[in-house]
Symmetry: C2
Subunit: 234 residues, 2 copies
DNA sequence: TAGCTGTAAGATGTCTGACATCTAACATTT
DNA sequence: AAATGTTAGATGTCAGACATCTTACAGCTA
C-alpha cells in the first residue's frame, strides 16, 4: 500500500487541515520547520508539498513573512474546491452544483458544435447512439457508459474550443463514477437514448439553438436523476 | 528587477520550451541533473519547478523512468493553455474562444441567479448600473470598469455556485486587460449600460430564461466588439 | 519627544552532497 | 528459453548550511 510519495501525503494532510478550518483564509500555516517536525519529514519534502499547493493557488508564499491560505474563490483546483465544498452535509449541494456547471459547458459546447461539426462526426454520433441502444438491449452497462462518454467527448471536440475541453476534464473525472451508477438503471438508459438521438438529429440540422435546447433537456434529466438518487439515499 | 524566484524562472523557461514544441506531448523532458546544469541552478530548484508544473498537470513524473509532457487537454491551468493556444497566429482565435467560454459561464450563472438572487442584491445591481451611467457622463473609465466588474461579480455570487466562481477567476484575470481597452470607447459604454440595465431588470423579474437571454445579448455584443478590435489591429 | 538606525529573530530561498529506491535494459545462469 | 542477477540512470528523500527578506524592538540622535 501507500503508493503515494511523501510529498503527496504531506500536501494532502495539510490540505485536509485547511479544509477542516484549522487555518482560515488569510491566516498563515505553520512554518516549514514546524511542519517538517510534525510530519517527521525533511524540510525539503514540506517545501515541495507547499509548492504543489501554491501552484494550485491554495497557498500564497511570501518570503520572509510566511505562507498564507487563499480564499476559496481563488483556488485554481476544481478537485480541491470540491473537497472543501463537500464538507459536512454539503455533499448533495456540491453534486447539484457540479451538474449545473456541466450543464453550462455542455449546452454551450453543443451550441458551438452545431455550426462547426463535420458530416463524418455527425455520422459518428449516430453510431454511438446505435451502440448505446445495442448495449441497452443486452444489458451491457460498461459498453453503454463507454458509448455515452464517447458521444459527449465528440461534441466537446467538435466545439473546437480548447478551453471548454480543459475545464471539462476535471469535471469528467469527478462525475464519471456517479454516471456509472445512474446508467445502471434501465429506465434511465431508455431516457438517455432518446435524448442522445434528439441531440444528434439537432446537430445534423446544424441549428445552434435547437442543438443547445436538445442538450439542455438531456442535462435537465440528468439533474433530475441525480436529485432522485440523492434524495433516496439515507 | 527580476523579482521572481529562481524556481519560477526555471518553471517558466521550461514551460516555454514545452509550448514551443521542443518536447511534444508524451515525450520526456530532460532529467533533473541535465536541467540543473543548463539553467545553472541546483537540482532542488529544478525539482521544485517541476513540482509546480506537475501540480498543474502539465507534467507527469514517473519515478525511475523520467518526467513526461501531458497532452494539452489534460493541463489544469487555464493560463498555461492560453499561452499554448496563443502561439503564432492563433492569438485572435484564442481570444474568441475565451469569450465563448465566458459567455457559457456568465449566461449560465445569470440563469441560476434569477431564481436565487435576493432583493437587496437586485437593488445593488441597479446601483452599479447607475454608477456606470455616472462614470460614463464624466468620462471616468476606471470607475466605469470597476462598476462593470462589480456588476458581473455580484451575479456570479448570486448564482450560489462555487464552481462557477472558481472557473471564472482565471478568466477574469486574463480578460480584464482587454476589457479596459474596449470600455474606453464611449459608444461601447453606452451599449453596455443598456445591456446591464436589461439584465438587472430581467433578474428583478426572477425569470430565468429572460435573464439568460439578456446576459446572452450582452455577451454577443462583447464578442462583436472584440472581433471588430481584432480585425482592425494590424 | 520624535525620528532614524542597527540589531536580532524568524521566515522563506537556494545550494551541496549523500543515500535510497524504482525502472529498464542487459548479462548471466539454470 | 526462462529465470535471475547486475548495472545504469532516473526520481525520492534526507541533512546541514548559508543567503536574503521582513518585522519588531531597542538604542541612539537631533
Amino acid at each position: 500500500m501507500a503508493r503515494k510519495s511523501l510529498v503527496g501525503v504531506v500536501a494532502d494532510e495539510l490540505l485536509d487541515r485547511i479544509i477542516a478550518g484549522e487555518f482560515p483564509a488569510g491566516s498563515s500555516v505553520p512554518g516549514e520547520l514546524e511542519l517538517s517536525a510534525k510530519h517527521e519529514v525533511s524540510r525539503m519534502t514540506v517545501r515541495e508539498a507547499m509548492k504543489t499547493l501554491e501552484a494550485q493557488r491554495i497557498l500564497s508564499v511570501e518570503r520572509g513573512r510566511g505562507t498564507f491560505v487563499n480564499p476559496l474563490n481563488r483556488w485554481a483546483s476544481l478537485e480541491a474546491v470540491l473537497r472543501a465544498a463537500s464538507e459536512g452535509q454539503n455533499e448533495a449541494a456540491a453534486s447539484v452544483q457540479l451538474i449545473e456547471l456541466r450543464r453550462m459547458l455542455e449546452t454551450g459546447a453543443c451550441e458551438l458544435a452545431a455550426a462547426r461539426i463535420s458530416d463524418t462526426d455527425v455520422q459518428a454520433l449516430f453510431v454511438h447512439v446505435a451502440a448505446m441502444r445495442a448495449a441497452h438491449e443486452v444489458n451491457d452497462v460498461a459498453a453503454f457508459v463507454e458509448a455515452d462518454l464517447a458521444f459527449h467527448d465528440l461534441i466537446l471536440r467538435a466545439s473546437e474550443n480548447v478551453f471548454v475541453a480543459v475545464l471539462f476534464a476535471p469535471l469528467h473525472r469527478v462525475l464519471e463514477k456517479r454516471r456509472a451508477e445512474t446508467s445502471a438503471v434501465p429506465a434511465i438508459q431508455e431516457h438517455a437514448i432518446g435524448h442522445h438521438q434528439n441531440i444528434a438529429e439537432a446537430l445534423e440540422s446544424r441549428d445552434p439553438s435547437r442543438s443547445r435546447e436538445a442538450m439542455d433537456l438531456h442535462m435537465q434529466q440528468t439533474l433530475d436523476d441525480l436529485k432522485n438518487l440523492v434524495l433516496e439515499a439515507p
